[in-house]
């Protein structure tokens, strides 16, 4: 059960998360930064509530009103050619 993967994109296990929280005695945010949980290709869409539940349990932090790990654009992975392009909707 401990080896169960929580974050699929980065293959972060329940054990990784709990051990990191214990070892560094740190905030939920820091655990995410250290393990990369929720920071892979999908941007945490799949595991965000799960990672938050693990970290609430491990760090004692309750869900706050703001979204726990700040959402950053791009909210979908984009090719650099798309991000760099200045393709305006001018048809």
């Amino acid at each position: 059960m401990d080896d169960m993967i929580v974050c699929r994109c980065e293959e972060v296990s329940l054990k990784n998360l709990v051990d990191t929280a214990e070892k560094y005695n740190c905030s939920a945010r820091e655990v995410k930064l250290r393990t990369r949980a929720g920071m892979g290709y999908c941007g945490g869409r799949t595991c965000r509530p799960a990672v938050d539940a693990v970290l609430e349990n491990a760090t004692g932090e309750k869900p706050r009103n703001d979204v726990p790990l700040k959402v950053q654009p791009p909210v979908r992975p984009m090719a650099l050619s798309v991000l760099g392009g200045n393709d305006r909707d001018d048809e």
């Binding site: 699929r8 999908c42 869409r45 799949t46 992975p77 090719a79």
Partner: protein
């Protein structure tokens, strides 16, 4: 050949006849129907595995099927990281499964085999080096 189509349905009715579309996946030709996504057309033929995890090389398939989880990333024609669950099949489309990547942190790979330039890295990625599934 596996055919997992739900042709008759007690409430939704009989599946309408649709135009056939031929595409390839990892070099093999498959037929789907207009309106199919890459993921649905392949699953209709019983194909689940669409990629392997880049690092662990473990097999992956669709998980959410609506574009949220990015687990079904494949290469479509020349574009990488395309979600099979959102991509309608087109005639002659060339789809290949998502491959593993060389892992510079994997101690089992001898240092002399690790890529030293970006070009080498790209070549190794194309070969799916270290990819046990390929």
């Amino acid at each position: 050949m596996t055919n997992n189509r739900i042709v008759d349905h007690p409430v939704l009715g009989r599946l309408a006849d649709r135009k056939e579309i031929t595409f390839t996946f990892d070099g093999t030709e498959y037929t789907g129907y207009e309106g199919d996504t890459v993921a649905s057309a392949l699953l209709a033929h019983g194909i689940r595995t669409l990629r392997v995890h880049e690092e662990s090389k473990r097999p992956r398939s669709i998980y959410c099927n609506i574009g949220h989880c990015y687990e079904c990333r494949v290469m479509v024609d020349d574009a990488r990281g395309v979600r099979a669950c959102l991509t309608p099949i087109k005639e002659g489309m060339v789809v290949s499964s998502g491959k593993g990547l060389p892992n510079p942190l994997d101690a089992s790979i001898p240092p002399e085999e690790l890529p030293r330039t970006y070009q080498e890295y790209e070549e190794q990625s194309k070969e799916g080096k270290g990819d046990t599934d390929a």
